[in-house]
């Protein structure tokens, strides 16, 4: 768990006619993080050529994405990787698939075009509605229409029989037509059109034998009625739009099984092509290479032998044999419950292969820091419940979201524990603290317990910082030994000499404090503790110069360079460690701020209390709002600061984030 997974590299040679079987088996297993054979052995380049997959991966990907586009039109997802089976892989006919998709696309486009036509009608009516709003009474308009520039409103009659074709003729012109009565075989109509369309409208009216009829204003009706009529028409059109929109959805849902089948086969072919894109071949053999966890070696070896009936050659390599150590992929092996913390680590970077995976340590340090900064059992319980509730509600969400929700729950639990230690429950002291009364300390009345003043709180965080930094140094030494980096082990800022100076500095500081800030350790001891390692550091530039290849010429300035490098190194070590250690005081700072905010909200609630001193509704509202604010604001601050301390004070001591993640080609591989 503490180190990254042991990896091995396989170089396999199989016969050309076993390529298909081997490809499928590799895909089924999903174990190999492929590398090109030419990267493994540069000399082999001229003797091999790349295998050209039957169908180009890029073309398959493009069509697969097209199908996903159709799924997205109905807010649907493609099938999950879990459902993919190599047995379902069939030869893909890209031309035929494209044709089917083009047809579907054309059908969708036809419906969209119909929607567009409806939209034009909507726009026309909205145009009239806008114009209508510009003036008051309708009858006034009819009476004196010429002075109104925008709309033309007229009353008249045509034969009842012609109404339908009249409507038809007007359909291309923005208009509202209302039947307001009948007279023998004539229909009395109110017609509203845009004045700018007068020429066209008059032509239609002439064609249908429109006769102007002067109608009394009470017969014409009110503007509201026209607007109502317009609104009804608009509603109808908008309903039609909705119907057309759902037609697209129905169309795609109807095709979903076929699309799903096509998508599955495309995805399988895409992965098949990706596996083969790493293959190289000679006239009769195929060669490939990749990394896998050592524990999986027997599984892979057995599978390849089985598929090829033993007609294969497998060569295994250890990571130390790799030409470029950084090319070895890294598999972190942490239990599932640590995945939120693994996410924090990988967000920073992937640890270098063969070094310490800090995930479990981050889990501990992150939660301690969070607890110290957000130490309230009540607030913690809220976070815990929110985190757990979110995890249940968003079970199907992306893993990053799930991890974040789990992290919130963990932080909540840490805050509950810290709250119990500090005896704080929503800022109230329901139970006696197990460690010390944080509120009492901040409020200035101690409250009893192991810590009685602010300096005590600051001291705890400084000691905690020293412990974290010391742990970082030890981890760095372990990494240096594991990677045989002996020079770094001794002379790195986080190496043995650096650690020696830090330890001595801490001792001297503690001694000074314990002697009432008046006395430092004995000068001989100080020389042993600090002087010797500082002097030893003079060797660093000299040794670097001696081992550096090609060696730079020794000039007059070389010793000056040595001296300057030595001075800078010492300054960096002293100022760096001091700053790193004091940086942990922010943990106390945030914790004090948390308590101060709680105290402040209680003070406001007290001010709002009634004459008898009992809390009023206002007091309770302030307390609820205050607690919500504290949970949100302080929760976020404490989370950010914990992360920052881990990244910059802890990781900087030992973490080499130059690794690259183990990414085998697998059926369950995430789709990009």
């Amino acid at each position: 768990m503490i180190f990254t997974e042991q990896m091995q590299q396989v170089v396999a040679v199989v016969l050309d006619h076993d390529t298909d079987g081997v490809t499928k088996e590799l895909l089924r297993l999903g174990l190999l993080h492929f590398v090109r054979i030419t990267e493994v052995d540069r000399d082999i380049g001229p003797q091999v050529e790349e295998v050209t997959p039957r169908v180009a991966e890029a073309m398959i990907t493009e069509i697969r994405r097209r199908i996903e586009g159709f799924f997205a039109m109905v807010d649907d997802q493609p099938p999950s990787g879990e459902d993919l089976k190599v047995e379902d892989l069939q030869a893909v006919d890209l031309e035929e698939t494209t044709k089917i998709l083009d047809n579907l696309s054309a059908s969708v486009q036809t419906i969209r075009d119909r929607q567009s036509a409806r939209q034009q009608e909507i726009l026309r009516l909205e145009d009239i509605e806008r114009q209508l709003q510009l003036f008051g009474s309708l009858s006034e308009v009819v009476e004196a229409r010429s002075q109104y520039s925008y709309l033309s409103i007229q009353t008249g009659s045509i034969r009842k029989l012609l109404i339908e074709s009249f409507d038809q003729a007007l359909s291309d012109t923005p208009s509202v037509k209302m039947e307001i009565g009948t007279q023998d075989d004539q229909a009395l109509l109110l017609l509203i059109t845009m004045k700018r369309d007068e020429t066209l409208t008059n032509r239609i009216l002439d064609k249908f034998g429109w006769t102007d009829v002067h109608l009394p204003s009470e017969l014409v009706g009110k503007k509201d009625q026209v607007q109502e009529n317009l609104r009804e028409k608009l509603e109808l059109l908008k309903d039609e739009q909705e119907e057309l929109k759902s037609k697209v959805e129905s169309l795609i849902r109807e095709k979903r099984p076929a699309l799903e089948q096509m998508w599955t086969n495309l995805r399988l072919n895409e992965l098949y092509a990706r596996v083969q894109s790493f293959f190289s071949k000679t006239s009769r053999t195929v060669i490939f290479s990749g990394w896998l966890p050592s524990s999986k070696r027997p599984v892979l070896a057995e599978a390849i032998r089985r598929v090829t009936d033993g007609r294969c050659y497998l060569e295994w390599h250890q990571p130390r044999e790799a030409e470029q150590p950084a090319s070895v992929p890294v598999q972190m092996r942490n239990p599932k419950f640590l995945s939120p913390f693994q996410m924090l680590v990988t967000n920073y970077s992937i640890p270098e292969y063969g070094t310490i995976d800090p995930t479990p340590l981050v889990a501990v340090t992150f939660l301690i820091m969070f607890g110290l900064m957000f130490g309230d059992a009540g607030h913690g319980a809220v976070l815990l419940v929110l985190g757990l509730l979110g995890s249940i509600l968003y079970k199907g969400a992306r893993s990053a979201v799930r991890n974040l929700l789990h992290l919130i729950a963990y932080c909540g639990a840490a805050a509950v524990v810290a709250g119990i230690l500090f005896g704080s429950y929503f800022g109230m002291k329901w139970f006696a603290p197990l460690w010390f009364d944080y509120h009492g300390v901040v409020a200035g009345h101690g409250g009893g317990g192991l810590v009685t003043d602010i300096y005590g709180v600051l001291a705890i965080t400084v000691y905690f910082g020293i412990a974290v930094i010391a742990l970082g140094l030890v981890l760095n030494w372990i990494n240096c030994v594991a990677k045989s980096r002996w020079f770094r082990l001794f002379f790195d800022k986080g190496g043995l000499i650096g650690g020696w100076i830090y330890g001595a500095g801490v001792y001297a500081a503690v001694y000074f404090v314990r002697h009432d800030y008046r006395q430092l350790p004995d000068s001989n001891l100080l020389f042993l503790l600090i002087g010797i390692p500082v002097l030893l550091l003079t060797l660093k530039p000299v040794l670097e110069y001696s081992f550096h290849k090609p060696r730079k010429p020794f000039t007059f300035f070389t010793p000056v360079d040595f001296f300057m490098e030595w001075i800078v190194e010492i300054l960096e070590i002293f100022s760096g460690y001091l700053a790193n250690t004091l940086s942990f005081m922010r943990v106390a700072g945030l914790g004090i701020a948390h308590v101060s905010l709680v105290i402040a909200f209680f003070s406001i609630a007290d001010m709002l209390s009634g004459p008898s001193g009992s809390y009023t509704i206002g007091s309770y509202l302030v307390l609820v709002a205050g607690n919500v604010l504290i949970i949100l604001l302080e929760g976020l601050s404490a989370g950010i600061q914990s992360l920052r301390l881990n990244y910059y004070e802890f990781f900087s001591k030992y973490f080499s984030g130059s690794g690259r993640a183990y990414a085998p080609v697998s059926l369950r591989k995430k789709i990009k």
Binding site: E62, R65, R66, G69, F70, A72, M73, L101, D102, S105, A106, V108, Q109, I111, R112, D113, R114, Q115, S116, R118, Q119, Q120, I122, L123, R124, E126, D127, R130, Q131, L134, S149, Y150, D172, T173, P174, K195, R196, D197, L200, Q241, L244, K245, V248
Partner: protein, 356 residues
């Protein structure tokens, strides 16, 4: 008076985050490769442009989707205005006015088409940006006005009334809106230059620089129109250009317009100030004389992109970040609009790539 850090720290952080979300070229290429408008629009669903996809899904109307893109861009400007300190807000407000002027021009174009040319403008009013930016403009009133003087009356409470009235006679005489559009653009750029002059020295310099390139681009755009649609002679054409350009001197514009030695002048300019773009010139060596102005336009676009890049890698707390964001965002929106429209008209991929 607030220092640059206070003025720009928040905006700078906000805009840099937004800049990082600007769609990459690869996405635009995928958009171009899609088989239909519906498929192109669907691709926007996973981006910041998802409202465009939603509108298209509801209406099937690409112009409504385009209007949504424009609305989104205006919202960005207006939001930024609220976030800025007073001394910079004035400048950004002037930048925002470009949308108001564009909207006004669109309404006047509809009026002109309907009243003067007698064309049908059915439904076109629905595609106007009906959002008050800084001045309330009665777009429906303008479309339905009897005369251009009437349009001027409707704009009484805006700075545009005088311009419209002043140009009314010329528009009638020329039977073209070009004099009015030109006057409105000139008004905008003059205001921009004036607003830029009110900024602090460092900001002023950056604003001059970027607006200078924009003015160059605007001038070249006009010269192309003068040459191809109005056949104006050189002096007449140059009379209409704007001062304040960064790279295009009057002489260079004169020579470019007359198609004499322009390539050499441009090559000298590019070689001297923008050596990164030299390849662009050599690849265009064989270009026909009629396309020279277009070529210069392309080079100026690249120059603008280079200037933006310089700003993004330089001192962060200046007006530059705002201008850079606006330019990048406008470019992104222009590309999306172009692709969607091209898809609507079934343009082949190569043709779309050529205009992007």
């Amino acid at each position: 008076m607030a220092g640059p850090l206070k003025t720009y720290a928040f905006v700078n952080a906000k805009l840099r985050t937004r800049i990082s979300k600007i769609l990459p070229e690869e996405f635009i290429r995928q958009l171009i490769r899609s088989r239909s408008v519906a498929e192109s629009v669907q691709m926007l669903a996973e981006t910041d442009f998802h409202p465009v996809q939603r509108i298209y899904e509801q209406t099937g109307d690409i112009k409504m989707a385009e209007l949504e893109l424009l609305r989104k861009e205006v919202e960005i400007y207006l939001e930024l205005e609220k976030l800025l300190e007073e001394e910079v807000r004035g400048f950004v407000k002037t930048l925002t006015e470009r949308f108001e002027i564009e909207s006004l021009k669109n309404a006047i174009r509809l009026w002109f088409d309907c009243r003067i040319r007698g064309r049908s403008i059915e439904n076109a009013g629905g595609y106007l940006l009906r959002r008050t930016i800084h001045h309330s403009i009665d777009l429906d009133g303008i479309i339905n006005a009897d005369t251009l003087e009437g349009v001027g009356d409707l704009l009484e409470r805006t700075p545009y009334a005088g311009i419209v009235r002043e140009q009314a006679a010329r528009v009638t005489e020329a039977e073209s809106l070009f004099p009015l559009e030109l006057a409105l653009d000139r008004f905008l750029y003059t205001r921009l230059v004036e607003a830029g002059e009110q900024l602090k020295p460092r900001d002023r310099e950056i604003a001059r620089h970027l607006i200078g390139v924009e003015i160059d681009l605007q001038n070249v755009g006009w010269l192309i129109r003068f040459k191809h649609f109005y056949s104006l002679d050189t002096d007449q054409a140059l009379k209409h250009t704007l001062p304040g350009g960064l790279n295009l001197s009057v002489d260079l514009m004169r020579e470019s317009y007359a198609s004499e030695r322009a390539d050499r002048e441009m090559a000298a300019l590019v070689g001297r100030r923008y050596p990164e773009l030299s390849a662009l010139l050599t690849s265009q060596e064989q270009v026909k004389s009629t396309a020279r102005l277009t070529m210069i336009e392309r080079i100026l676009e690249q120059i603008l992109a280079l200037e933006v890049k310089k700003i993004l890698t330089g001192y962060p707390f200046t007006i530059g970040i705002i201008l850079a964001y606006f330019i990048l965002k406008a470019n992104e929106i222009r590309k999306i609009m172009t692709v969607l429209n091209a898809k609507f008209y079934n343009w082949p991929e190569e043709r779309i790539l050529a205009v992007i």
